[in-house]
Symmetry: C2
């Protein structure tokens, strides 16, 4: 069972662990995320790190929660500065694409979703909940943008940004980001395209 930190130092250590855990899980997966390696990278003992969570499952769940926090902070919240609808949709997609190139392991969610899509249990449930929230956010803004089929547009945007993550990680070719941006632009309602007085 999970152990809640009490002192300030305990809190700092826990957050340092989870920050590293998110990066590591983006590369090795949540199953390949091993307590021994995580402890070694943070230069602390296995048992000391372990005591912060009580079980590997709880470490995985805490890592998912930390990844969700990071995603909200780097992708969702900046996009909230844009007005509802197409502009915010564009910002959400753009922030996602930028984030793919920022973190060494690529998108945490693409890695863990593929890993757990056939493994029932609380870990899978937590991943599904986060991804459903992401889809719901896209759908909500698609509806605000007045498109005819918000669910379908949300699916298309999800596919394109995830596809860009996948192709970029495999090929290293940044042109996929151009392809993704062009494709996304054609999906968004034309009236709300960014100011481009010439056309």
């Amino acid at each position: 069972m999970s152990v809640t930190p009490v002192t300030e130092k305990g809190n700092q250590t826990r957050e340092a662990i989870l920050d590293r855990a998110v990066d590591l899980a983006s590369v090795e997966g949540l199953e390949g995320l091993t307590i021994g390696r995580l402890a070694a990278e943070l230069q602390m003992s296995k048992s000391g790190l372990f005591a912060h969570f009580g079980s590997k499952r709880d470490l995985q769940l805490a890592t998912i929660a930390a990844a969700a926090d990071r995603f909200r902070a780097t992708v969702v919240e900046p996009a909230l500065e844009q007005p509802q609808g197409a502009a915010r949709l564009r910002a959400l997609a753009e922030r996602y694409l930028e984030q793919v190139d920022t973190y060494a392991g690529g998108c945490f969610w693409a890695a863990t979703a593929a890993e757990y899509d056939d493994r029932p249990g609380p870990v899978r449930d937590a991943i599904v909940a986060s991804l459903d929230a992401w889809l719901a956010a896209l759908e909500s803004q698609a509806r605000a943008a007045g498109v005819e089929n918000p669910q379908r547009l949300a699916f298309e945007l999800y596919s394109l940004v995830m596809g860009a993550n996948s192709r970029y990680r495999l090929s290293g070719d940044k042109r996929v980001f151009v392809f993704a941006r062009e494709a996304i632009e054609e999906l968004l309602p034309e009236a709300v395209r960014p100011a481009n007085p010439g056309s």
Copy 2:
């Protein structure tokens, strides 16, 4: 190092192993594919199974080759019956989508690509080669269909069918296939849409 089977019985066993290995790896990944479990499911000994490959890495590489064979047989070759261009593109995407729902673990390539996109080595190289061939096939048909940007269309089709696989495995909602088919149809050159005299 890998051991080539000599007798007919050796060949049958090897193929039975690889057939099961592809399914298992689609669920557990190529790293989670364990020799002990594979042997248990086939009701044979670990060492007997192991002798067919000589190392886990060679088992993984053989599994990738078997998955590529299966993909060619169930997706690519049936689509070759369609004339080049948009019709064959549609058939490729359609066969892929059907295959997602057929195999219990979903798409082998979606699972393993996400697993190995950050793990250098021969296993990753083999996966990348297969996926590049798939992209190249899509691009070639897109070019034959006369679209303005074949690379981008190939990327979009890749993203949509992979996205459908991902969303279906996570949500179980078959409407994603409808979304994917509609989106794909809008991407294909209109002139070659399937016969639909009414519209």
